[in-house]
Structures are given as structure tokens and as C-alpha cells.
């Protein structure tokens, strides 16, 4: 006898989600027929086997989870609460942005550090860099990816963050040594890092919008492949490693200055020491951002945190985007912060 089951579904933010869900469900041998109603966020399936609704929801969710969808036997009444949170999250995020840019404006970070470049000065410059406007791009990227992973994984996974930070340190150590070894300007191209920066800023803006959850389902739909790409990337081991090493090339004046210092240091060891001291200096703030996201994702105010982080990330993303376009000479510089 064929029996009909009805579930509520979350995670459907694109028009083509319907096809994907139906495909996945019908790949399961025992599902005879499936139908997705995106507007009402309802999935209906027909099967000959007998389950209780929660049981079947759990079985099918196992298959759909990798694609980012979860089935529920009952509708979760979360939307109403979420909508209220955004009105707190926007001011909270903006206050954070204002404090950050005021810090840049204050001139506190413009310490003139002279003299010989030693690992100790490298470490101090690392700390300054991690609080400087570089945070808008490197930190913004770390924050947006961390929050996204923490949100999707319900905050239970720390492995990608540990991988990211270890790879970042190792990347700086090895690449710093290589720079010291080569000892001449191989031309760390401004244009190359500016383009990387633009990509990072677009990722931030996209993830920020996603975190805010302001895209009403059905009104604006994003291409599904962008988000399924992110999802795949999040679950891959190579992604945090690649992004960690990639931060070496992100546009940041401090990083580039240190690269020059490593270049002119004259040996593999001294270049390595300078770059690793610098990377260690930047670690506390970046680690705070990523592991802080995990603990907030567990906390009572998780929704508020996700949305405030979304506001901050969009702000950083816009800042990095406008600055990056100006740096490439595509638009006139709009500000000098």
C-alpha cells in the first residue's frame, strides 16, 4: 500500500532546489514519488514502506543534509522570532563597524617602528596588523566563513578552524623562508593580490547576506550552484588549508611590508623567522574570531550573533570591495581612512 508523508523543509533558497531535492529523494529506491512546494516549504513523498513521520524525516534528512536541506515532521516556528532579531542585529553590527573604523581613524595603530627587523618586531607588527584595516579583509573573510560553518554544523565542528590556523601558520613559515632564500623581488604583484581581495570581498558580501537571512524565499533567488559550491567547499578538508595559506597573498600593507622584510633578510631561516613571528602576532585576533564564532553558535544568542556578524561582514566586504576597486584604478577613491 502506498502511503503519503508530508514534511517541512529548511534550506531552500533557490529555485532549482526543488529539482535537486526531488532528484535526491527519488534516488532512494523506496521513494515512489516526491513533490516539493517551495512556497510553502513542504516536501511530500510517497512510499510503500511504513514509517512514523519523524522516523522517515530523519532517514531522508541524512541524504539531504550534505546538500543543505533538513526535513522536519513539524513546522518549526522560528521565523517570527528571527524577524525580530534582525532589528537588534543591525544596530549591534553597525556599532561594531563604527568602533572598528574609529580605531583606524584614531591613529593609535600608526606606530612608527624603526630599526632592525627582528622576529620580536615582526610579532608586534603582526598584532598591530590584526587590529588594522587588514582585519576588514582577512578577519572579515575568517569571520564570515567561520560563522557560516558554525551555523551549518550547529557549532559542533572545530576541525576546519584548527586546520585553517595551522595551515596559515605553516604557509607563512614556508613562504617566508622561500622569500628569504630567493632574496630578490620576485614581484609580489599588487594587482594579483588586489584581485584576490576583490574575490574575498564578494564572498564576504554574499555570505553576509546569507547570514542575515534577509533574502525572502521566493522573492529573490540566488543561483543555487553558488551556495552548493560553498557547501561543498565547507565540507572539504582542502578548503580551510587552501584559504589558510591563501591569506599570505591577500592584500594587506603589513603583510606585504613583512614579505619585503623577509626578502631582504637574506636567508631561508631569517625570512622564515620574520614571517612566522608576524603570523603568530596575527593569530590571537583571528583565532578569537573563529573560535568565538563556535562558542557563540552554541550560545543562547546564536541567532543575534549570526545576524550581527552578517552586518559586520557585509560592512567589511563593501569596504574591501570599494577600496580594492580604487586600488586597481577602476573607480575613483571614495575615502581615505
Amino acid at each position: 500500500m502506498i502511503k503519503k508523508y508530508k514534511f517541512h523543509v529548511t534550506g531552500t533558497h533557490c529555485a532549482s532546489c526543488k529539482i535537486l531535492i526531488e532528484d535526491v529523494l527519488e534516488e532512494q529506491g523506496f521513494i515512489k514519488n516526491s513533490k516539493v512546494d517551495l512556497k510553502r516549504e513542504i516536501v511530500e513523498v510517497e512510499t510503500e514502506r511504513t514509517y512514523t513521520t519523524p522516523e522517515l524525516a530523519e532517514i531522508l534528512t541524512k541524504e539531504l543534509k550534505p546538500h543543505g536541506y533538513v526535513l522536519y515532521a513539524e513546522k518549526i516556528i522560528q521565523d517570527k522570532k528571527d524577524n525580530g532579531v534582525i532589528w537588534t542585529a543591525i544596530p549591534v553590527g553597525l556599532v561594531f563597524l563604527i568602533l572598528f573604523f574609529l580605531l583606524q581613524r584614531s591613529g593609535i595603530l600608526n606606530l612608527g617602528i624603526g630599526g632592525q627587523m627582528t622576529p620580536t618586531t615582526g610579532f608586534i607588527i603582526g598584532i598591530i596588523a590584526s587590529l588594522s584595516s587588514c582585519l576588514a579583509i582577512v578577519g572579515g573573510l575568517v569571520l564570515s566563513l567561520s560563522v557560516k560553518v558554525a551555523k551549518d554544523e550547529n557549532g559542533s565542528v572545530k576541525k576546519p578552524f584548527i586546520l585553517f590556523h595551522i595551515s596559515r601558520l605553516f604557509g607563512f613559515v614556508i613562504l617566508g623562508g622561500v622569500l628569504g632564500l630567493i632574496g630578490e623581488t620576485i614581484g609580489i604583484s599588487f594587482t594579483f593580490s588586489a584581485i584576490l581581495g576583490l574575490i574575498a570581498s564578494l564572498v564576504m558580501i554574499l555570505l553576509g547576506i546569507n547570514l542575515l537571512g534577509i533574502l525572502k524565499k521566493g522573492t529573490i533567488t540566488l543561483p543555487s550552484n553558488i551556495f552548493s559550491f560553498f557547501r561543498k567547499v565547507e565540507h572539504a578538508t582542502w578548503a580551510p588549508v587552501l584559504i589558510g595559506v591563501g591569506t599570505f597573498f591577500l592584500p594587506c600593507g603589513f603583510t606585504q611590508s613583512m614579505q619585503i622584510a623577509a626578502l631582504s633578510s637574506g636567508s631561508f631561516m631569517s625570512g622564515l623567522l620574520i614571517m612566522s613571528a608576524f603570523a603568530l602576532g596575527t593569530l590571537p585576533v583571528l583565532a578569537l574570531l573563529s573560535f568565538g564564532s563556535v562558542s557563540f553558535a552554541h550560545g543562547k544568542h546564536a541567532t543575534l550573533f549570526f545576524k550581527s556578524a552578517g552586518v559586520v561582514v557585509i560592512g567589511f566586504g563593501l569596504f574591501a570591495l570599494l577600496a580594492g576597486l580604487a586600488g586597481l584604478g577602476i573607480i575613483k577613491p571614495l575615502f581615505s581612512i
Binding site: 624603526g114 584595516s133 593580490s193 594587506c252 613583512m258 581615505s336 581612512i337
Partner: protein, 133 residues
């Protein structure tokens, strides 16, 4: 939070952000006026030297110099590691890391009226302009 209260606060905060961004950058390193008073321009042996200090931005932000004479830019750095030391001047195809401390001379050729020189740092967050007239 109440929606109306939130919108009012948000608008206030946006205005504050706008003010932060539109104001002139202040920097402990530089005590020269942000908008030039001509003090950073010097004539020596028929060559016009324009001095710009770096560190937490460029100072002065805007300079005006004479057109029609050989002109050189002197970038003065003192222990600066931030973006301002990654200097890009598109119009003359200049792209270089300035030394952490020191002076860098950049030849601008013969200055032309109405063709301002714009310098920007690699990340695009600091910039300066020299106008010629």
C-alpha cells in the same frame, strides 16, 4: 528591539559611519596640514620637489604645485609598515613598496596643468592627489 527604535538608531549609526569616512584622516605621525599650504613644495635647481609623508595615510592629502616644470615626488617614510608604503601611481605606471624608513624619489617628468597625479596604496584605503596649475 522595537522596529521603529531600531530604524532610528540605524540611521543615526549610518550617519556616524558616513562622518567617519568623509572626514580627513588624522594621523599621529603627520602634523602637516592635510590640505596643503604649499609648504611641502620646494624648488631646487629648477626642479620642483613635492614631499609627501607616509604612515597611516599620506600627508598632505591634497597638494597643488606648478605646472610646466620638471617635477619630482619625494615619498618620506619613517617606520611605516601599513598600506601606505605599498604605493601605486597609475598614471605613470609606478608600483613599488617604499622602504620602511627613508626617502624615495619619483620622477614625474614635466608637470602638466589639469593632469593631477594620484597616488593610492595597494589596498586602496589611502590616497593622495597633487594638482598642477
Amino acid at each position: 528591539m522595537n522596529k521603529t527604535v531600531s530604524i532610528i538608531i540605524t540611521l543615526g549609526l549610518l550617519v556616524a559611519l558616513f562622518i567617519i569616512f568623509s572626514g580627513n584622516s588624522t594621523s599621529t605621525n603627520n602634523d602637516v596640514n592635510q590640505v596643503d599650504s604649499g609648504q611641502n613644495i620646494e624648488m631646487k635647481n629648477g626642479i620642483q620637489y613635492i614631499t609627501i609623508k607616509t604612515g597611516g595615510g599620506y600627508s598632505p592629502n591634497i597638494s597643488s604645485a606648478k605646472a610646466g616644470i620638471p617635477t619630482k615626488l619625494i615619498m618620506k617614510t619613517s617606520g611605516s609598515f601599513d598600506c601606505s608604503s605599498a604605493l601605486v601611481i597609475r598614471s605613470i605606471n609606478y608600483q613599488q613598496m617604499l622602504p620602511q624608513t627613508g626617502e624615495t624619489e619619483i620622477d614625474l617628468g614635466i608637470s602638466k596643468a589639469g593632469a593631477p597625479i594620484q597616488g593610492i596604496c595597494g589596498m586602496g584605503m589611502y590616497n593622495f592627489v597633487v594638482n598642477f596649475n
